[in-house]
Structure formats: C-alpha cells, structure tokens
Symmetry: C2
Subunit: 437 residues, 2 copies
C-alpha cells in the first residue's frame, strides 16, 4: 500500500477516546486494508496533560491546545469526543473550515447545533457523521439516512438511554426504589457520578432530536421534545406495571400525528411508559438500547444491542472514521446533510394514547363509583379497573382507552378533588404497538 497516510486528530480522551485511540493502533492493519491507506494519529487533545491514560502513543502527540490541533492543515479527520456544546461547537467548526472531516459522538452538540454544523460541512465540502451519538454500536443513523432513504417513516420508538434502562431494569428485578437502583448503577459504572442528564431524560431528548432529523427530515430544537425523566418512578409504578403484564421503560417516541386541531406535525416525547412484556422493547435489558422504526412498506424494523460503554461507542466512532477516510482516499465527500425542511412540532397535549391511573381512595367501594363517573364525564373510557391494597392503603387502578392527554389531565385534576380520593392520582402512559394510530 503506497497511499499517503490519513491524519486523525482526537479531541477528548475519556472512556470512549481512550478506546478509540487504542483501536487506531491495535487495528492499524485492518483499518489500512479497509480504507486503502494507513491511519496516522496527528494528536490527542486533553484537558489535563498529567493524567495517565495507559496508552502507548508517542508522548509528543498529547496536547492541551485543541484549537491549535484543529487548525493544522494536515489533519484529515477530527474525532470529537467532548461533552457539552462548547468548546466542541467552535472547535469542530474551525476543523471543518480548515478542511477536516468530523466524526462526533456528541449528542448535545448535534441536537443543539445540527443544522449550522451541516451547513459548515457542506460549505467546506467535508464529511460530518455521528453514528455513535445515538445507540452507540447499533447501526441506526446510517440505515435511517441511506437504507430507508426512499421510505416515509411514520414512527420511531426506542429505549435510547442505557443508564435509565439499567436503573428501571434493577427496580423491576428487585422491586426496590429508584434511589437504591441509582446508587447501584453509579457503583457499577452504569451511571455517571452526576447522572442528571440521564435520569432527567435530557440525554434521551437530544437523541430524539437527532433521530427526528433523520427519520422526519426536520430539525427541531431540543426544547420541543416533551421530556419527563425517571426520578419520579416509584416501586409502586413498577409493581403496577407487573400487575398488568408490563414493564416500565424510559421511551423516546417520535411520530407524525395530527394536532388537536387536525394539523399534521411531529410529536417527540421522552417519558417513562408501561410497555407490554411481549413488546420487543421489553426485551431490551440492562444497559442495552433498542429502537423500532416503522414505515408503511417495511412494517416494524428492530435494531437492538449495546447502547453505551467505551468499546461499543468506539466501534461506531471507528466505523464513521473508516467511511470518512475511504472517501478521502477516493477524493470525494459524502452527502452528509440530510435534506430537511421545517415541520410543525406538536405538544404533549396533542397526544392520544392509553394511560395507567392509580387513585388513592379512602373507601374503595364508593370510590369506584365516583371515579368512573368523573372519567366518563371527561370522555376518558375505561378499559379495565381493579382495586388494590398496598401497605394498608386502598387504591383504584384504572387502564384507560386511548384518550387525548388534556382530557386525561383534566379528569385527574377533578379526581384529586373528590372527597373519596385521599392521594393525588398518578398516571403513566402505556406503550402499545398500535398507540396513537
């Protein structure tokens, strides 16, 4: 192989960065074969030069000046593995302005600045790919963009956050509370020391924005994603789910639905939901991810696998790197920018789905009458109802028919004021294969 080596700069050397740098050297021959030219490390930018990372690379390659690194004109590809939007945004913009293609795993960055970054990439004729930003090793973004490029995707539903899935899985297995499961996740390395972005659903919401851009060809601001985390999920919720043959999962759902007023738009939502045990997403265990993509022609397509972790994420990063490098060797860039157009985004008030309701009552017999009449009055159909007695407290558990969320919320507010109701009703959305159709 006589081709010139391709120079790769890596920004950030945490868990994923360490794995990527290790693979570039361990898989040197395999990568050169697949690319048609060898890969050469141009530099690794880190915040703290003194920290040891156990990597056997030329000490000269370490730098704490990422800006100088991305300004180098001999760098072909920049791998950006920072967290948060700055300085990542300005660094990769500068990198692209200097002619480098960019591989990123940074979902916050892409969700926030995706359109501008794609414009910069197109302007400078470079590649911008980020397969690792959603569902780690599971090939998902490229299939959405290319393989399903001729399809009209109607719905994407997934478990896209490994940390929360691990926590909910533990709660399901042990019957324990959120706090205990979270502590276990932190101890075992499945949650970061500050797990806020995961448990609050922010991470999943960023991923929802990226998925929406590829599935529905539109960029929505992250704040348009309806978001509820898992911090409020209780052991009772988990037990209630079990009682109706379901499990609680943090789901991301993207779908084109009509608004209350009949206008089409995209609803993106992230929240805990009760998922039937027979649903393919119920089988997504531990820190895994799973995503179902639906189109009229294909029916549901399931993608499932490791959704987090250094090795799986590095697989996706290196996959993008190989593709970008191949194009460099061939002398042309990829069509990175998915054609997008502004789309109306819907609010959670436009959702029509089924709900699980738990209503604490001081007298379950007379309570049932009052509750069902309130529900009926607010057009909330009852699919099933049962009495429950947990820890000495009576409750009514109701599963509704598909109803509009505002109707459900109004009914819940009214129920909270009934004399027979002694605890504010809790509700959780159900995820059904035929939801919201």
């Amino acid at each position: 192989m006589n081709a010139e080596p391709l120079k790769v700069a890596v920004l950030g050397c945490g868990v994923v960065g360490t794995e990527v740098v290790r693979r570039l050297s361990e898989k040197r021959d395999l990568l050169a074969d697949r690319i048609g030219a060898p890969i050469e490390l141009a530099g690794v930018a880190v915040r703290d030069l003194r920290r040891s990372r156990g990597l056997a690379i030329d000490p000269q390659l370490w730098t704490d000046d990422p800006l100088a690194l991305v300004k180098r004109d001999d760098v072909d590809i920049v791998v950006e593995l920072l967290s948060g939007t700055e300085p990542a945004h300005s660094l990769i913009t500068t990198a692209m302005e200097h002619g480098a293609s960019v591989v990123s795993a940074n979902k916050a960055l892409l969700a926030t600045h995706g359109p501008a970054l794609h414009e910069t990439a197109a302007l400078h004729d470079v590649d911008l790919t980020y397969e690792a930003s959603v569902a780690a090793a599971i090939p998902l973004l490229r299939p959405l963009r290319d393989s399903l490029g001729g399809d009209r995707i109607t719905r994407v539903v997934g478990v896209v956050n490994g940390t929360t899935n691990y926590i909910l899985d533990r709660m399901t297995q042990t019957g324990g509370a959120f706090g205990a499961a979270l502590r276990e996740a932190v101890e075992r390395g499945y949650a970061e020391a500050d797990p806020t972005a995961d448990v609050a659903g922010t991470d999943a919401a960023f991923k929802a924005v990226i998925l929406a851009s590829l599935a529905f060809h539109t960029w929505m601001p992250p704040e348009h994603v309806y978001r509820e985390g898992i911090t409020g999920v209780t052991a009772t919720d988990v037990a209630d789910a079990r009682a109706c043959d379901r499990v609680v999962k943090l789901v991301a759902v993207l779908e084109r639905i009509p608004s209350r007023h009949g206008r089409e738009g995209i609803l993106a939502r992230v929240h805990p939901a009760m998922v039937p045990r027979t649903h393919p997403l119920a089988d997504v265990r531990g820190a895994d991810n799973g995503v179902i993509v639906e189109t009229p022609d294909t029916g549901p397509l399931l993608f499932r696998g490791a959704g987090a972790g250094g090795a799986p994420t590095s697989s996706a990063v290196v996959g993008d790197l190989v593709t970008a490098a191949r194009r460099r060797v061939l002398g042309h860039q990829e069509t990175t920018a998915p054609a997008t157009a502004p789309e109306r985004t819907q609010g959670i008030g436009d959702l029509r789905t089924r709900y699980h309701l738990r209503i604490g009552v001081n007298d379950s017999l007379s309570g049932l009458d009052g509750v069902t009449s309130v529900l009926r009055f607010h057009d909330v159909g009852v699919d099933s109802a049962r009495r429950s007695r947990t820890a000495g407290r009576d409750a009514l558990v109701v599963i509704t028919d598909a109803v509009r969320e505002p109707d459900l919320r109004t009914a819940v507010d009214v129920l909270a004021g009934l004399p027979s109701v002694d605890t504010p009703p809790r509700f959780m959305r159900l995820l059904d294969p035929a939801d919201a159709r």
Copy 2:
C-alpha cells in the same frame, strides 16, 4: 429543482418489480427531494408484454428487449429484479459497461458472480448495491459494510429465509407435519409454487455467501456453504425441541473457527437447529427475518423485521436506488467493492457444537446403558438424557456437550448397529449463544 432527471430502467416486473415501479411514481416528489433530482422511468423489461400488471405507466415504456434497454447510454441506473443467474449476469454486466449503476435484489446472481460483478463496477466507475438480496427491508448489508467497517466481526447468525421460517413456525404452532405446513404456506402466498430453493436451503445459502463477503471480507463459492434444508424436519423434531424449551429454526451461521487441524477459516452453514426459546432468533416469527452480528467491541447486535414480500423488498431496492442516484447527482460513485481476500473455508467436519439425539430403542432400560457407553467411547459428552415414548415406540433423547461433528457422526453410526437400537438415530444441532466458542 432544476437538476436533470435521472433515468431508471427496471428489469423484471414480478411482485417486487411492480411495487418498485409503483413507488417510483407514487413517491415522485419525496424521492426527488431526497435525491436532489427527479427520477424518470426509462423502461421496464418483461418477458410477456401481454400480461397486465395494473401499473399506470406510459405503455411505450414496456419492452421485451432488456438488452436494448441496458445498452441505452441515457440510462443512469438499472434495477435488476430477475431470478437466477442468466440472463441477469450478462444484462447487468452490459449495463455497467454502458455506464449505468446497478441495484439488484438477485441473491443467486450475487452469490455466484459477486467478485466479477464488483470488478466490472470498479472498472466502469459505477455503483453496484443489493441490500434487498438479504433480509429484504432490514438494513443489513450497508451497516455491515459501513457502520461496522472498523470492526472484526466474529459471527453472524440469522434466520434469513421467510418461507421456511413460516413453515417451521406453523409446525411449531400446530404440531403438524412438514407437508401440511408447506401446503398452507403455498396457499397463503408465503411459498412459491416450486418452493425447492427455499425448503432445500439454497436461498439461505446464497444469502450466507453475500453475508460472508461483507462480514468476513471474502467471497466463497456457494457450494462451500454446508447446506441442509427443512424437508426432513418432522413433527417429532418439533416436539423434541419443545420438550427442551427450544424451537426449530432454519439458521444460517457464519463464523471464523479453527479447523480440526488448528487452521483458522470461515465456516458457513445453513441447517435446521434447535434454538432456545429465550434466544432472540426464537422471537423471529412467521415470514420475518432476524440476524445477529457479533463483534468483540459491540457484543451481539440484532436486526429484525420483514424478510420478504413485495413492499418490504421494494423498500430496500428504492433505498439503494436513492443512494446510487444521490451519488450520480454529486458526480461520484460509491466505494462499492468491499476489499476482499481469499480465506480458507471450513467444512461441517470442523464444527464443534452441541447436538440433540433421538435414538429409537426396543428396550429403553438396557438401551440407555449401551447408548451412553458408545457415546462415552467416542468422546461424546452427555449433558442430559431422558426416555421418551411416542406412538408406542421407545426412544432415548440425549443432549450432548459440545463435540466435533465427525465424532458425533461416528457415534451415531455405531449406535445404529447396536442390537437395542431399532431406528437409526436422528440428530439435530443446537444453537446456543456460546456455540462453537
């Protein structure tokens, strides 16, 4: 949009061709948006011009002269939906020689002539893609080639033939025989009038060759794939599988294993296997397909969805068409030819796995002793053994430890000669997550 239209010729207008042609017109605007130029039908070649296909296209576009169509210099992309290797091979070779990119769904053709076709594509700087040839709508080939381009794939295991999966699923549900399930499959349109290629495993073997080329970067001749169809699967096999919490599936397994003599190579095999009910492939129902790809970095990745049918297959064809068309608009071709190198292929005699054995005996008590001593003598470890009495006949059912196939076969031959054994022993391979490791 001022771009010149891209001209597409379609060869073959059966179930899939009809769906593709319909989508080109129904999705005209969507495809133009995604490609950056409109698609224009240049012609549809069929064998019988008199047959009505219910397609509202300009009657001038029908032709029974495919060769004249592919020789036209104004055709940008040829979609080949014929069956069998000829005349498909010469037609798409001619098409590429005349500068057209090719999208094919023809697994027999690709499995048999893949390397030569890729050479022609590279020589004439055109695209050659065939996502629809394996697992229909499930994006699989492109992820293997691109997303996992930096990974060392160790194993691919899948259910890749919808017809046989439907038949085995029916046998599992009804407890009935192969013949009845096959008739039902034909009546319901899940099997062709001549289902030989499906039930004999030939179709799955072609797909295995294509998967091997992308997963292991080597082309093997189809006859190197060990192949056993499902015509010999009996209701007793299905019942035996159920008794050990398994289901019978026709699986395709590709893996890099050492030979008996310690040399590395690729074993590709297609055969019925007993799959644990908890295995992700056990959930692949009806005519669906499912494929698991394993790499050290990612762990198992599951792809599941519709594996056959006009609409799902047309989704994959149109996806390839969009990608090829985008590249035409950008003025460059894809790196279609995966870098490949000859690899040693292993025979079934190199397999080491676990087996289910059913041994008809005329006296199950003394039979057990004789059987286990023969197994022990031939190094076949016994994981479990039970007696079975079906339709008045005694049998011993043994599940072995992992053993080499030649040892198992020798033991089976010896068992057949024991005086206590009155029916030749049947064996079926087990599929376990940790098989052959």
